[in-house]
Amino acid sequence: MTHAVKFHPGMMLMEQYVEGTLSAEVALAVATHIDLCPHCQHLCQDLHNDQGSQLAKLAPETNNNADDFAQMLEFITAQQPNTGSHAPKQQESVTVNVNGREFRIPRALSRLVTQQSKWLQLGGIATAKLPAGEKTHVSLLYIDKGTEVPNHSHLGMEMTLVLSGRIYDESGEYGAGDLLINSPDDTHTPHTRADEDCLCLSVLSAPLKFNKGLVRLLNPLQQFFY
């Protein structure tokens, strides 16, 4: 049976996602969750409708240079509008291959994974970076069957979204669509079971203090995961 998503982004994250005020990397994790979660797709639609009606009810800006809008209107209507009816784009399904396995990738990641870096492998764990801003790292994280990710804490915030398979940690089990958010204080030891591997999207904020210098040498794993 397919997994029913149990761990959703909180309402505040959803609202900020819809407003467009989240950072791009966090928004990406939320968007990917929504791709996998019909429940949040409905919620998201409701929040959009709400924002739309707020826009329609907004008091119009009155301090305008009359020419600004007149020129703008003239400029716009001089352009050629697109024609043809709305043909729903057929999403060709994008896949990634790792460890001899092929995974289907949700819509939100489909363009970005075409630009992923090479897979770096360490034991049963592999990561590949996706393009992102400088302060936050976004990567695919693959964990083979029966593998334990060494106990770690986070210097920054960590978001992990399960894309496929199943992973367990001290507080529970997570399947496709489940979103885990760990703050710097959380330590955990995620692991897979012997019969199922796992592909995740990982969003890590940069540990600013430990970016450079000797501290890095003390924690070779950090470089790998981050």
Partner: protein
């Protein structure tokens, strides 16, 4: 033109005057007919109708500017956002689908995306995460079968599971064979060596219990 029709409407409408003080009628929102903006977008999409577009523009441009001022705190950027947004409304009106939501929602998503990409462009390289990656604009493919339905079924089974486990063992056994192993009532009767009537009454009792348990959890 929208403004003027509305104003003249108020002036020769004595009913409005008797019902509320004058200064309220002046500040009242112009009357927007339900579906007006959706129709306007359709005219734009089908005929590149400039008059219909001008109405949309005169309503939404100043509101988008207010939205932009709030977001950017800067008139130049706010106007840039208004122009990009309203240009998209003009050019892509053919993509508007009223069955997915109203015009104001669609216009909001365009403005939100324009703003996001404006900010993002300033701080990073291209090929980075863009609004197109982040927002599907309600364009979720209807996955195999009806996902919502499947999902509701899953949720239901998840909700049901504990109550199922709590059924008296004799009832649970029958339910398991009928509903999970999909055996016929007769097969179950043969297998357990109990009369067919007993199988049926255990099923009825178990279903009653489950129904009751679910009604309790619903609120």
């Amino acid at each position: 033109m929208l403004e003027s029709t509305v104003l003249s409407g108020h002036h020769d409408n004595s009913r409005a005057k008797t019902r509320m003080p004058d200064r309220m009628t002046i500040s009242a929102e112009p009357n927007i007919r339900t579906g007006q903006w959706e129709d306007a977008l359709t005219y734009v999409a089908v005929n590149a109708d400039k008059a219909a577009y001008a109405e949309l523009f005169s309503y939404f441009a100043p509101r988008l500017k207010a939205f932009g001022m709030k977001m950017f705190g800067n008139e130049q950027q706010a106007l840039e956002m208004v122009q990009d947004t309203m240009l998209n409304v003009w050019k892509k009106a053919n993509l508007f689908d009223a069955s997915r939501g109203c015009a104001s929602t669609w216009i909001f998503t365009i403005a939100r995306n324009v703003r996001f990409d404006m900010l993002r462009k300033k701080q990073s390289r291209k090929d980075d995460i863009s609004a197109d990656d982040l927002w599907a604009d309600g364009d979720y493919p209807e996955q195999e079968g009806s996902t919502t339905e499947q999902w509701e079924t899953m949720l239901m089974s998840e909700k049901l599971a504990p109550h199922f486990d709590a059924l008296p063992p004799a009832q649970r056994m029958v339910m398991q064979k009928v509903y999970l192993e999909e055996k016929s009532h007769q097969e179950v009767s043969d297998e357990l060596g109990i009369p067919l009537g007993t199988v049926k009454s255990r099923i009825r009792l178990a279903l009653d219990r489950l129904r009751e348990a679910l009604d309790d959890t619903r609120s």
